[in-house]
């Protein structure tokens, strides 16, 4: 850092030093975000361009009658947002990828923001920075600007991808703007949460929960006409209101800018009046009642997992309750509009016409969050190791493979609970609207995705053994990467040998089809081998921290 006071004061040099102190901090923040930004930007640009190319391959225009029907169907509107301009390659791409990319960019920006602010502060690195010339408020403001800019870059990449693939200019600009705006909202929420809460994990949780709460609000807004105004309060709703490639309205973009500006300004203001290491919402520092779980290894594993499990279960249950409530509206619509059923089948959603087919298609989505949850728990273990928190535990008669196995078993059990919670919520929803789905079918379908989630757990454990710095990205690869691989493979008609590598190729659409026992056992075997190899390697390598 260049914030040292020179031993001989040279008045002329002071402003320059102060400027370069700020620049150094900005430069350090840029270095911390550039790799992630490049990856997310490549995904945004690449995926949009691919889907535009894919649409051209469809070769058939969407009939105007189908289009109207689609736009008016409440289930379609609720799940995927209002479909507009589906006759345009760009419009179709926005409808297909918009929500997914907005969730990706927003979540990534929020997590990056808390990592660069509360994470750095928690690790004590800001003590050093703030011993120099900079004040906390300007440090927060500079970091915020860097993350906002990084989020904007990813939006621009999506717009560029559309343009290069031949979509219309104004629509590409509006969509890029909405994605960039969603990212900046996520970044601003992350920095704000980092001012409010004392540790990175809860700040990340709050920011992501608020952001994804916006997704649920959008679904409600598009499903319940009376609550349509809710869409104006969330980036995901504004994506539909801006209607890229249809009306290309600029007003929602301005509202989006406001949605980002409010938390951003609030974050900088709140940063001004607090202590370093402190937070606006202080948790209780003293607690006389102590957890009775914390007297054994399984108890510790349970204690570490239960809060994360509760949060994830609440979010997933809200989503799948909504899925269940929409079941009849969706199946009726698809039966009446065979074109969209075909389109959906091409995108990997076969048999959407029956309630069993409908829920089984959406259960495939369940594998991704459950897999991310499992990989995230192992990533937390890796983070504990890097922070030196496991040194005392491993000075007890506790073998590393024993602790890793205890954690893995707890996380596996929690994944079962999480998937079951998704199934239960779906059943409650479908029963409410009388869609006629049995509880057993609902649970079987939800639990059927577990092999994919456990594959994530196995990959994360292997990463814990060989690449402890990359547990999360390697751990989510089987679910997130496998899902994208399958959808792309189906879309472009890739050979079966390529599709085979996607775990989803080995899942049947339960409960519409019987369970693929061989596929499930095969995946469990691979997961087991990965987990075993990872645990053994973990026990033999040097402990970090």
């Amino acid at each position: 850092m260049t914030t040292r006071t020179p031993s001989r004061p040279a008045p002329a040099a002071l402003p320059a030093t102060s400027r370069s102190a700020g620049r150094a901090v900005t430069g350090a923040a840029v270095r911390q975000v550039r790799r992630g930004t490049a990856v997310v930007a490549a995904v945004c640009g690449g995926l949009t361009a691919l889907v535009v190319v894919q649409y051209r391959g469809l070769d058939g225009a969407v009939g105007i009658g189908s289009l109207t029907a689609l736009a008016e169907n409440p289930a379609i509107r609720t799940l995927f947002g209002p479909p507009v301009a589906l006759d345009d390659p760009g419009g179709f791409t926005v409808w297909r990828t918009g929500t997914v990319l907005a969730v990706l960019v927003g979540t990534w920006a929020a997590l990056t923001a808390t990592r660069l602010t509360r994470g750095e502060e928690e690790a004590g690195r800001w003590d050093l920075l703030l011993a120099g010339r900079l004040r906390l408020r300007s440090l927060v403001a500079r970091t915020l600007v860097v993350v906002l800019a990084a989020a904007a870059v990813t939006g621009a990449a999506a717009g560029l991808g559309l343009l290069l693939a031949g979509a219309a200019g104004p629509g590409a600009a509006v969509f890029g703007g909405v994605l960039a705006g969603t990212g900046t909202v996520g970044a601003a929420l992350g920095v704000l949460a980092a001012q409010l809460l004392p540790d990175r994990r809860s700040a990340s949780g709050l920011a992501v929960a608020v952001l994804l709460g916006g997704l649920l609000a959008r679904m409600v807004a598009d499903g319940v006409p009376a609550l349509g105004w809710l869409a104006w309060l969330t980036p995901f709703g504004l994506l539909g209101r801006a209607a890229p490639f249809a009306t290309d309205r600029p007003a929602p973009l301005l509202v989006l800018a406001l949605l980002a500006a409010v938390p951003a300004v609030l974050a900088v203001v709140l940063a001004g009046g607090r202590d370093l290491g402190g937070s606006r919402v202080a948790g209780r520092d003293r607690r006389t009642a102590h957890s009775r779980l914390l007297t054994s290894l399984p108890g510790l594993a349970l204690h570490r997992t239960r809060r994360a499990l509760g949060t994830w279960a609440a979010g997933l249950m809200a989503y799948f309750l909504l899925i269940g409530l929409l079941a009849t509206a969706m199946t009726d619509f698809l039966r009446a509009n065979p074109f969209f059923a075909r389109l959906a089948a091409q995108a990997g959603f076969a048999q959407l016409g029956s309630v069993e087919g409908y829920v089984s298609a959406l259960y495939a989505l369940l594998a991704v969050p459950v897999g991310v949850f499992a990989a995230g728990r192992i990533a937390a273990t890796a983070a504990d190791e890097a922070a030196g928190r496991l040194a005392l535990l491993y000075s007890l008669p506790v073998g590393r493979s024993r602790w890793a196995a205890t954690e893995a078993a707890t996380v596996a059990a929690a994944s079962v609970v999480l998937a079951g919670a998704g199934g239960l919520a779906t059943w409650i929803g479908t029963s409410w609207v009388g869609a006629g789905l049995g509880l057993g079918d609902a649970l079987a379908g939800a639990l059927g995705v577990l092999p994919v989630a456990l594959l994530c757990l196995g990959a994360a454990l292997a990463a814990l053994g060989w690449a402890p710095a990359a547990v999360l990205p390697i751990g989510v690869l089987p679910a997130a990467g496998g899902y994208v691989l399958l959808v792309l493979g189906d879309t472009f008609g890739w050979p079966g040998a390529v599709r085979w590598f996607s775990p989803f190729a080995h899942l049947n659409a339960v409960p519409a089809e019987p369970v693929d026992v061989a596929g499930g056992l095969g995946m469990l075997a691979v997961a087991g081998v990965l987990a075993l190899a990872g645990c053994l390697r973990y026990a033999r390598r040097d402990l970090l921290g």
Binding site: D285, R286, R287, H290, L300, L393, S395, P397
Partner: protein
């Protein structure tokens, strides 16, 4: 599980070495600490003390050689760690757990804890166990680890610079605990870079420098290592003080200026003080040499 023989050394290493890429952190370290001894492990920062301890605990895998704790190989932690307790140099705790939850966890998972003694230790170290770990200073985190370690009454205590965050009152309490542990026959492996701390607590010391064990010696020899640097400023030049060089314990008499003399002194200072009394001394300073200075003296080359 085989019961170790009572005469098994508490700590034994043979040709222990650890290499991190091009850096040789520990080289060919062979050492035996018999049970019941309070052993000081001395060395400057970065000498390899913590690496040696982490090898001994099986947290790192040795590149060469082996280590045993009461004849149990260091890598077999389920056996080796039944008989030891550890205090790391930099204690990290789960931030949301309270001190008591950390202690309960260590007691519940560990090989056994004397809970009454633990409560007594909490009092003695003046630690509030109901605060969350994130509110603890580094000294308080160290106290949690110290209380947990002493309360186990494990036959071997491995302490890695355990007093770096403690205030002088707590350092005194720590030394009392070490003395009690020694009375009970516990072995203590105490790593430090403070000569005074080691001198007060230990009966034998090993000195490590640049990853190599350069000296293993008893306390009497350590006292010989311990010399004072004397600096005297004179009001007027006093050539007769040249005779200081002939006094017992005096070595390396230097005259940076005609009115300033510097010398190294081992043993009692009486003769030197009597000689200086005759001269017109304006300012007198006696300073203990740093560990590093002793190393420079003894091994004749600068630190890496």
């Amino acid at each position: 599980m085989a019961v170790p023989s009572p005469s098994a050394p508490a700590v034994r290493t043979e040709g222990l070495g650890k290499r991190f890429g091009p850096t040789e952190a520990v080289v060919d370290l062979s050492l035996t600490v018999p049970p019941g001894e309070v052993f000081g492990f001395l060395g400057p920062n970065g000498a390899g003390k913590s690496t040696t301890i982490r090898l001994l605990l099986g947290l790192l895998r040795p590149t060469t050689g082996s280590a045993w704790v009461f004849d149990a190989p260091a890598g077999e932690v389920a056996r080796a760690h039944r008989r030891l307790a550890y205090v790391p140099a930099d204690v990290s705790l789960w931030p949301s757990l309270t001190g008591r939850e950390c202690l309960d966890l260590l007691a519940g998972v560990g090989p056994g804890t004397d809970l009454a003694y633990r409560d007594q230790l909490l009092e003695r170290f003046a630690l509030d166990p109901d605060r969350r770990a994130r509110t603890y200073s580094s000294g308080n985190r160290q106290k949690v680890a110290l209380v947990a370690a002493f309360a186990t009454r494990a036959p071997l205590l491995v302490l890695d610079e355990p007093t770096s965050g403690l205030d002088p009152l707590m350092e005194r309490e720590f030394r009392a605990c070490i003395a009690e542990a020694a009375e009970r026959g516990q072995t203590v492996f105490l790593s430090s870079h403070q000569l005074a701390e080691v001198e007060l607590a230990c009966s034998r010391v090993g000195i490590i420098r640049e990853g190599r064990l350069v000296e293993v010696t008893g306390l009497a020899e350590l006292r010989r290592l311990r010399r004072a640097e004397v600096v005297a400023d004179l009001s007027t030049p006093a050539p007769e003080l040249q005779r200081l060089a002939a006094l017992p314990g005096v070595s390396d008499l230097r005259w940076p200026t005609p009115v300033r003399l510097e010398l190294s002194l081992t043993g009692p200072p009486g003769p030197v003080l009597r000689a200086l009394a005759d001269a017109d001394v304006a300012h007198l300073e006696m300073r203990e040499p740093s560990l590093e200075e002793i190393f420079l003296d003894y091994y004749g080359q600068g630190p890496a």
